[in-house]
Amino acid sequence: MTLETLSPELAPTLAVELGLKLDEYEKIVDILGRVPSLTELYMYSLMWSEHCSYKHSRKALRMFPTQGDHVLQGPGENAGVIDVGDGWAVAFKMESHNHPSAIEPYQGAATGVGGIIRDIFTMGARPVASLDSLRFGTLDTPRQRYLFEGAVAGIGGYGNCLGVPTVGGEVYFEEAYEGNCLINAMALGLMRKENLTRAVAAGPGNLVLLIGSTTGRDGIGGASTLASQEFDEKAEDKRPSVQVGDPFEEKLLIEACLELLDAKLLVALGDLGAAGLTSSASEMASRGGVGLDIDVTKVPQREDAMMPFEIMVSESQERMLAVVTPENLAASQAVCKKWGLLSTVIGTVTDTGRFVVREGETVVADMPAATLAHDAPVYDPAMERPAYLAEVQAFDPMTLEHPHTREALSATLLELLASPNICSRHWIWEQYDHQVMLNTVVLPGGDAAVLRIGDTGRGEMSERGIAVSADCNGRYCYLDPYTGAQIAFVEAARNVACTGGRPAAITDCLNFGNPEKPEVFWTFHQSVKGLADACTAFGVPVVSGNVSFYNESFGQAIYPTPTVGLVGVLDYVDDHCTMEFKAEGDAIVLLGRTRNELGGSEYLKVHHGMVAGRPPKVDLVDERLLTELVVTAIRTGIVRSAHDCAEGGLAVALAECCIAGGIGATVDAEGTLPAVAELFSESQGRIVVTVAPEHLGALKQLAATHGTPCTRIGTVGGDRLRIGTAADVSLTEMRDAYLPTLERLVHSDETLQSEELTDR
């Protein structure tokens, strides 16, 4: 009896410890026709974890539309790929790294960026941009400041070193994320269409080549015990499950892998992410319908006496798995050597369909490869509408006492501009290299980032551009997950449209609590349905994505947070538009209509300390027409600026345009609604644009053909923002409220901070 053999009594106990359920264990026994070995049990426990198998979400995700003429690769690969014209394709995906970041924010966030970037260049694309969607508790405790500061530093520390610009993102601070922060990293890559590569192993007799870092015990069980379970008081003990990143090694990997792909030396390429070698190899084999034979003693190790299972499931970072023909081995290894990277043949492709793992001569695992990747059970979790919904939705914000004098409303506007969820994010993005590669046309701080398409330095340029935005307001999703998910989509679409981008496709990162709780699963199901309906209404497919469950601590789930990463295309990047007011005398026009919708608003939270009511309504047809109108108006050069109305409503949107442009505005409040609603209602389907007075007629005509309400509400000029008789604030007051908030909050307790930094 070797160490590898498990007794029929011990095996089920161990299976449960590794996160499997007993019936899942029975299924493994059925597949193998015997008790699994230690290595096999570990491999199944990882591959059948929620994180790797999507066993609770898989059925619901079928609601997403995934097809389109421009879709080159939909969900199921390392990243989705769309055709953006002129022979160019864009690969993109968003992924969560929530649990590692909650334990060690710097490394958790850094390796989140590293992982998503590997997914991009695995497809044959050069990574050209990344964005991050972040959620923390409010910044009034040292722990939240530590998480926030650490995550931002980690994202910068990794991305800056790689030379991939971090061009955008979003952040919210809410009590609901106190015990479980969210770090969602999105990356985009650019390639010529013909260079699209898939991770499909083929050709029995071909060699399996492991490229990059050595393998250690870091990150063992990261996908199962960390990512697929809730947090409790033992969370700190899981620190060894957090991987440590080496961005320099990853930079070398990017260059080496792109050089290998350019030279057509590889049959397949895949990255080692969650569940390490097990996941990468089994997915590659099952996609190709082949088998693999791997010898763990060949894997370069950074620690002594590693067990085969440890080598197979280690999540050591910065490693890639390639399949090469024997003829191309020498040339492939020469490229790796040039970049100072290890490359080692660790096995061969076979025609048996079996995944065999050896330790020298001894076979330690032997199973049908496809069963790891595809035979995980698929669940139909129970659903139940959460009891809290009836109560929060019944609340009518108009029953509250609202400010109504000009002084009080002006003060409320400044209060909102200084709110951590609205204020300027420059403290964050100034820590990120957002310009490297010279393609960032609209810098962070705008509605969406705009990138020029072209391979800078290699001489291939295009007139086209892409616009990208990541959005989700979890508060809306908490109050109504179906509508909230749609708002995440339409806000991303408006943001992209405001820069001139035509929405083309999305990726998503669906962050929820424990799916085994019927109330949590109901919110998940509703969100997916809402998002799917929005995508269908816009004709915009989902091409990649990620589900992150078990975002709970001490039994308390986060707000449902289905983050949308939307990519749009500009036919002529020269035509792009920005949000700032440009010129004295320009007419300010509101496209869309303000309703009395204060439910779930930032105003309600900041001024009354409440999260209640119904979120704003969404009309998908109107929203689609609005984005089409704005994109057309921008392309034809009618509008000079465009900015989406979101948190904080029309008043905050106007203030942001003033601050960005360094110029004031005089606006007439429309009148029929209470002043507080005119100013701060968060009605969807609204965009503020400016036009030269002589173009006002053309805009009105265009709006009429789209059926979009189009109202001139004011004029750009001066150094104050005056909104009817309701509000009157100076540029300086707005700047002083809007610009320094984050820096002030982060540094509100320097002493504690430096202590924590020393701890780290």
């Binding site: 520390g157 320099f248 070398l252 100034e430 290299d433 310009q435 010279l438 330095g457």
Partner: protein, 232 residues
């Protein structure tokens, strides 16, 4: 006019420099750090990035790359060598320029566009009048320039201080306005001879109105003009 742009493992602005130089109408080629042939290049640029991951100290490993001994010889011949950001750090580590670059005062990476004032200097690769204010992005974690008093005095005397961080109107902020805490607001320096020039800001990021403005063009056009003058 042909610029040679060196790639160290971990460099990440080499493509940007080549692109900027091409955009300005000049030729450029890549030099691998392991190569030692600099023939055919009229100027050498050490680009920004994180050579060798900036492990140990920024530039501390890159200075030992095979290409560096050739670059020392190239500079000794009086030919143009520019180090941008990480390239500047490498030049100080290689003792081709005095002083050192420490971690930014606020302990944060900084990426933003700053104002720079051209000083009266010996540098031959910048041809704007002293006092000219330029807008160029910075992007670094270690740009806090430092040297001893004696070196600073000597640099002032020799006109080795080329660029200083300043206010939009060209004045220097009271008590130091360098975003990274640099001594004397120093953003760029040259050697005594004026042919080796290191600067923290990224001129290649300001050569195109669509992305970053055009003030960075001066740095490349000046070299091209001087090289042409010498040749004729």
């Amino acid at each position: 006019m042909r610029f040679g742009v060196v790639t160290f493992p971990g460099s990440n602005c080499e493509q940007d420099v080549v692109h900027a130089v091409n955009h300005l109408g000049f030729d450029a080629g890549h030099i691998w750090h392991g190569d030692t042939d600099l023939s055919g290049y009229d100027a050498i640029v050490l680009p920004g990035g994180f050579s060798y991951g900036d492990y140990i100290r920024c530039g501390a490993v890159a200075r030992f790359s095979p290409v560096m001994s050739e670059i020392v010889r190239y500079a000794e011949a009086g030919r143009p060598v520019i180090g941008i950001c990480n390239g500047f750090q490498i030049l100080t580590e290689a003792h081709m320029l005095p002083g050192a670059l420490l971690r930014n005062r606020g302990l944060k990476f900084i990426c933003k566009t700053v104002h720079l004032r051209a000083e009266e200097s010996a540098c031959r690769w910048l041809d704007v009048p002293a006092g000219t204010v330029l807008r160029v992005p910075i992007n670094h974690n270690e740009g806090n320039y430092i040297c001893d008093d004696e070196t600073l005095a000597r640099m002032r005397e020799n006109g080795q201080i080329v660029l200083r961080y300043c206010e939009p109107d060209g004045t220097l902020a009271e008590g130091g306005g360098a975003p990274n805490g640099a001594l004397d607001d120093i953003a760029g320096i040259c050697n005594e001879r004026g042919n080796v020039f290191g600067l923290m800001p990224h001129p290649e990021r300001a050569t195109d109105p669509m992305s970053g403005g055009t003030d960075g063009a001066h740095f490349f056009t000046a070299i091209a003009r001087r090289v042409a003058e010498v040749a004729s």
